[in-house]
């Protein structure tokens, strides 16, 4: 035996037995029925071109490897095409499980800067993709209202959406405690 090879590829300390419970409680009720068949990975468009393996993610979650799952950049490679959810022979709502893992990851502070930016735009304007100058012009050229009849054109409605974002903790999540307190 070669002693330089660690037999403990999964450290006991890394196992959080409550992780699966938390996922189940969040609505991923069938995740425990996973048989590791790999259907999810085989139909995944992101998995075709990256090292992202949905099956691996499910297995790690079942093992309770919470930190490894939540800190993994792979978690953000799912395009939510829902093909795995559709094909899973155990009818696990795989995409929903990934969304729930992402919610937990964000709560732990794992957040891609581009996603934070889109979220900031949502808080500022009510839209993750807000109107810009070029498109104001294009709207006019097309004979449409220059500003669409959305929160862009209604400050009361915008404030209402912000209040919802404050009440559900979204503003704090994106902008941090300090900013909201000011």
């Amino acid at each position: 035996m070669n002693d330089r090879i660690s037999r403990e590829t999964i450290a006991t300390d890394d196992i959080d037995p409550e992780f699966v419970d938390a996922l189940v409680e969040a609505g991923a009720d069938r995740i425990r029925t996973c048989i590791q068949c790999g259907t999810c990975s085989s139909v995944c468009p992101s998995g075709r071109r990256t090292a992202f393996r949905t099956r691996e993610l499910m297995r790690k979650a079942l093992l309770g490897l919470k930190d490894e799952v939540l800190s993994s950049p792979d978690l953000w490679l799912c395009a939510t095409c829902l093909t795995c959810l559709e094909r899973c022979p155990r009818q696990i709502k795989v995409t929903d499980v990934i969304i729930k893992m992402r919610n937990m990851a964000v709560d732990e502070g794992y957040m891609l800067p581009q996603h934070r930016k889109a979220s900031q735009k949502l808080i500022e304007s009510g839209h993750a993709v807000p109107l810009d100058e070029a498109n104001r012009e294009m709207r006019k050229d097309l004979g449409l209202k220059e500003v669409p009849p959305t929160t862009h054109d209604d400050s009361k409605a915008l404030e209402e959406t912000r209040e919802i974002m404050r009440k559900t903790g979204f503003v704090r999540l994106i902008e941090g405690q300090e900013k909201e307190a000011t």
Binding site: V106, A118, N135, L142, P149, T150
Partner: protein
């Protein structure tokens, strides 16, 4: 059954703020089909099922239900031309209808804001409403058959899935959009992996753009292989993906390989109904639509 019905037109973000030409074509075509669109004043982002739902589901649900509540107050069902927004509304409605605790949580948030929501509202996709009108009725309205036009149909994902919460008869290998394309006189061309994702969703375009564009590239390569004149989509986010990815791919490649015009369904239908390209915003595309128009007006 859909004729004479009024819907609250939910715009979302990408359509009014990046591709108003799609909005223009919907506003021009739908009344011609007997469908009245009323503005949904004060609507916000759906919000995005990729980033926002991934960040905080409770925020996503409450904002989605607020948009639905606006339509409910207006007394109409909501209509959207984006698969992502459609997915958000279908899933949000299912969530509050099957889970009373979620409904209560949302109503608790709404209480102080004076928003009323009972759940007596539905969300529909533009293409769902057009499909309800029926190919026969639509066929009777065609004035300019788009003969000889070879089209790659792109359904997108959230229009079709999860199939348990979608109105389509089939759960896979759908044909309704191909049929709606073919009533215009155009031909829906078979191509590899027609039902594959465009690659934009789930926050992948925002967060991992190289992977996202590579998925779009695979679809575009398959379309080029099938020698199509254009692609037809029904989602403003897929539309953004195909419009934005092609110049990007050409730049990386150093040659103009990717030049497939990206046409939204109501633009295609509008042409067949006899409308002018400018009325449908076809002069405002990223990828030049002139080759399509040349073929139609030849």
């Amino acid at each position: 059954m859909t004729e004479g019905v009024t819907y609250s037109f939910f715009l979302g973000c990408v359509m009014p703020n990046r591709f108003p030409n799609i909005e223009k074509s919907i506003r021009t075509v739908m009344p011609q089909l007997g469908v009245t669109l009323e503005d949904l004043n004060g609507a916000s982002c759906c919000p995005a099922p990729g980033v926002i739902r991934s960040f905080r589901e409770s925020t996503w649900l409450a904002l989605a239900i607020r948009n639905l509540a606006l339509a409910e107050q207006a007394g109409h069902d909501l209509i959207t031309g984006c698969n992502g927004c459609y997915g958000t509304f279908k899933e949000a409605l299912a969530e509050v209808r099957t889970n009373p605790t979620k409904m209560k949580e949302v109503q608790e948030i709404f209480k102080e804001l004076d928003i009323n929501f009972t759940g007596k509202v539905d969300a529909k996709h533009i293409i769902e409403v057009i499909h309800e009108i029926g190919t026969e009725n639509l066929g009777a309205k065609i004035k300019r058959p788009l003969n000889n036009l070879n089209v790659a149909v792109h359904y997108g994902c959230h229009l079709l899935k999860p199939s348990k919460n979608r109105p389509w008869e089939q759960t896979q290998r759908h044909t309704f959009l191909d049929e709606l394309v073919e009533i215009t006189g155009a031909k829906s061309i078979k191509y590899k992996d027609k039902y594959l994702c465009c690659g934009a969703g789930g926050g992948v375009r925002g967060g991992q753009v190289a992977v996202s564009v590579d998925i779009a590239k695979e679809k575009l390569d398959n379309m080029i292989e099938a020698d199509v004149d254009c692609l037809v989509d029904v989602c403003s986010f897929c539309h953004l993906q195909f419009e934005a990815s092609q110049p990007q791919l050409n730049k990386e490649l150093g040659e103009k390989k990717y030049q497939i015009p990206v046409v939204y369904y109501t633009q295609l239908l509008g042409l067949a109904l006899g409308m002018e390209p400018d009325e449908l915003g076809l002069h405002k595309h990223v990828v030049n639509t002139q080759p399509v128009l040349d073929k139609i007006f030849a």
